[in-house]
């Protein structure tokens, strides 16, 4: 009996010992953490913590030479916390709610409700008044600043992107095979699509090609918004007689619906488009002749088609004219913005030092460093010819380095023919791009219900194109949209518009 008792004592003791081990292991872990962040950081260098989205499976190494050069040039000590782009907003909303934010972070969706609410509650520094005292930051575009503003105040440094990047990626080799010219207007585009679908452009003796590759990119039908603009429609919202109207309530939207329906009925687009997640895959297979999206993608599409058809060639077209002449869709001109929270940056002095860092990042040599890497390491220029270093280790050092960039106005135009061409076409696009007049304005209903409401419109659009819904059904869907909260969205956007128009 005594023996039994001792045994149970021993097992209890072992339990306590293992528990305490667990606890001490935990504590040990924590203290390591503290040392890790506390150490380093030379005198004078500004310690700067930041949270950034990553678009790669593998992140930039902490001892990357590019990061080191960035720190040296800007006299900072950077601690970067990378978050996968796909869950970035969730993580950010939890971090914002906890109040423990890094000194600066990128808000990928500055119009998300938690960012707007936090900004309205005074959580972030208002940067607008400071920008003019910095040589590079003062050059930021007013249009884009206004697009990214919240309640007409500038809370963040936007990360510049070309304002209009959409266009056609077309199989040049197919055009050559059929002896066709590149399309210049919507009618010619239709003719080319028809020829691509019916005249065997890949010369394999079978009718197994379509004109336009279409997929559901997220919730949107690929190319739809672009063709809407080509046909004289608005970019998301139309400003008519001082009133903002959503695109799907315009007559051009109906024209686009009918255009797509015609393409579908005549089998000029892939018939399974509603099920295709990424329409590019139809291009990759060499089964489609045209893809409409960000023209930067052209190089990648060409590379992929060449795995199947080695002599494929992609050309880019940016001007397709319709009833209102040349038109293309403008984006917001930025992708996310850097915000500086008051909870972690307490003094104005520190704020100014951080802004000085961003100003420095926008200098010409820094822009090029973050875009192309170090000359002689990640790339070389021989006889004016840009060459990328294929060494994967060196390339890995600049993973996501462009996430640090703010302005991109002084980046050299390096790259392949297609990349250079796309950069030129972006500039051309900017001269005639149609802006979304509603992008600076905020509708709380849209933030809350926007996605669900969009689904109504998208479902009806797909059904109309596939012929399972009539024009009456479509009008019914629009009515459903209005009653489900759409009329509130229109009201709120217009109220916000009226407010800022007065100023």
């Amino acid at each position: 009996m005594k023996k039994q008792h001792r045994k149970s004592l021993i097992s209890t003791g072992a339990l306590i010992a293992s528990l305490s081990l667990i606890i001490t292991a935990c504590a040990g872990n924590n203290s390591n953490e503290a040392q890790g962040t506390g150490a380093g950081g030379e005198q004078g260098a500004l310690p700067l913590t930041m949270m950034l989205p990553t678009y790669s499976a593998e992140q930039m190494n902490a001892n990357s030479s590019i990061l080191a050069l960035l720190e040296e040039k800007t006299n900072t000590d950077l601690t970067v916390s990378w978050v996968p782009s796909s869950s970035y907003t969730d993580k950010l909303s939890a971090t914002v709610a906890s109040g423990e934010l890094p000194k600066t972070f990128v808000a990928l969706e500055p119009k998300a409700s938690f960012i707007i609410n936090a900004a309205r509650s005074g959580m972030f520094w208002e940067l607008g008044p400071y920008l003019k005292s910095y040589p590079n930051l003062s050059k930021m575009s007013d249009v884009v600043l206004s697009n990214s503003s919240i309640d007409n105040k500038i809370y963040g440094l936007y990360r510049e992107r070309d304002i209009a990047r959409f266009g056609l990626m077309i199989r040049q080799d197919w055009l050559n095979n059929l002896g066709l010219e590149a399309p210049k207007n919507v009618d010619e585009l239709y003719e080319v699509l028809k020829a691509f679908a019916t005249e065997d452009p890949d010369q394999n003796g079978r009718q197994d090609t379509v004109g336009l590759a279409v997929g559901m990119q997220g919730n949107n039908i690929a190319g739809f918004k672009d063709i809407l603009v080509y046909l004289g429609g608005p970019n998301e919202w139309e400003l008519k007689d001082g009133q903002l109207i959503p695109a799907h309530m315009t007559s051009a939207y109906m024209d686009t619906l009918k255009f797509y329906k015609k393409l579908y009925d005549e089998k000029l687009i892939n018939q399974d488009f509603a099920l295709v997640q990424d329409g590019r895959s139809v291009m990759y297979k060499g089964k489609a002749g045209v893809w409409i999206d960000n023209m930067l993608d052209g190089k990648n599409i060409e590379e992929n088609i060449r795995k199947v058809t080695p002599d494929a060639k992609i050309d880019l077209i940016n001007r397709i004219s319709g009833p209102n002449g040349d038109a293309t869709r403008a984006g917001t001109g930025y992708l996310g913005m850097y915000m500086i929270p008051k909870t972690s940056v307490k003094t104005e002095d520190e704020l100014k030092r951080i802004l000085a860092y961003f100003d420095k990042v926008s200098e010409k040599d820094m822009q090029n460093l973050l875009k192309y890497g170090v000359e002689g390491k990640q790339y070389t220029v021989e006889n004016g010819e840009y060459k990328q270093n294929p060494d994967p280790k060196l390339r890995a050092e600049m993973t996501d380095s462009n996430q640090f960039m703010i302005l991109q106005d002084q980046v050299e135009n390096f790259g392949t023919e297609l990349e250079k061409l796309s950069t030129e076409l972006f500039k051309d696009n900017a001269t005639f791009a149609i802006q979304n007049p509603a992008s600076p304005y905020i509708s709380n209903t849209a933030i809350e219900l926007g996605n669900e409401l969009n689904k109504i419109i998208q479902d009806a659009t797909v059904k109309f194109i596939m012929g399972t819904a009539s024009e009456a059904d479509w009008n019914q869907a629009v009515e459903k949209w209005l009653q489900g909260g759409g009329s509130n969205i229109i009201e709120e956007i217009n109220a916000d518009y009226a407010k800022s128009a007065k100023k």
Binding site: S8, S93, S98
Partner: protein
Amino acid sequence: MPIKPSVGSRVFDVLNIMLLTVFAMLTVLPFVYVIAGSFATQKELLLRGFILFPTEFTLDAYKYIFSTPTLVKSLLVTIYITVFGTLINIFLTCLMAYPLARRDMDFRKPILMLIVFTMLFSGGMIPTFLVVKQLGMINTYWSLLIPGAISAFNLIIIRNFFQQLPESLEESAKIDGCNDLSVFFRIVLPLSMPAIATFSLFYAVGHWNTYFSAVLYINDNTKWPIQVLLRQFVILASGGIGDSTAMESDYVSPPEQSIKMAVIVVSTLPILLVYPFLQKHFAKGVLLGSVKG
């Protein structure tokens, strides 16, 4: 002499076998497709679409994903979380379930009510995040192990399992000089091995699939488990980046299909291999204990 089966029963057998074969194929084919795809070339994947056996066998995808230590590192992280986490889960779950199974415990009903309450209502993402932060577990593996240490559902099933053990067994152990702890460790636990094995597997699979909590709580990307990496690969491959409604997404060239599939294979195979060893316990039935209780 065996009875000759009737025509009807033979037809039934044939139909049954055919139906079950179709079901088996439905479950196995996706795996075969992914495994075959990971060994195929990009060209074949694009042209043939659905591959069950690659004509051109290549290890390129695997060479690529193992060219850097990242994948191996996150695989090790996941193994660590799975093994250690499952131990914590099972230990704490049994430790809590046993007293709740004992009829002589005070406040048994209210405690059970509280547990069931957590099955219906949860604090949500942000309150949980705040708690984890206040406990100082951000950026440590504890944040992945402690918050979900006891699953209410598993706890209740294990409690029911404990409850169906005959009370007389415990009484006789006590007469032989066991105290409560030794009854638990020496009598109850050994008798519950089938249930423990089954729930170990449930917990282990849960840990293996740790994704969202890792993204939320772990800031240091060298500590990411494999699923975070897998999702990066797959999301990039489908091109669904950024907010498609408002923002113009930045273009990122997606990894090849075969690489995506190779990552799926590497991240799924290890946990798949655990099943055969626990299968015999499954045969006895997970909820066996609860039916009698």
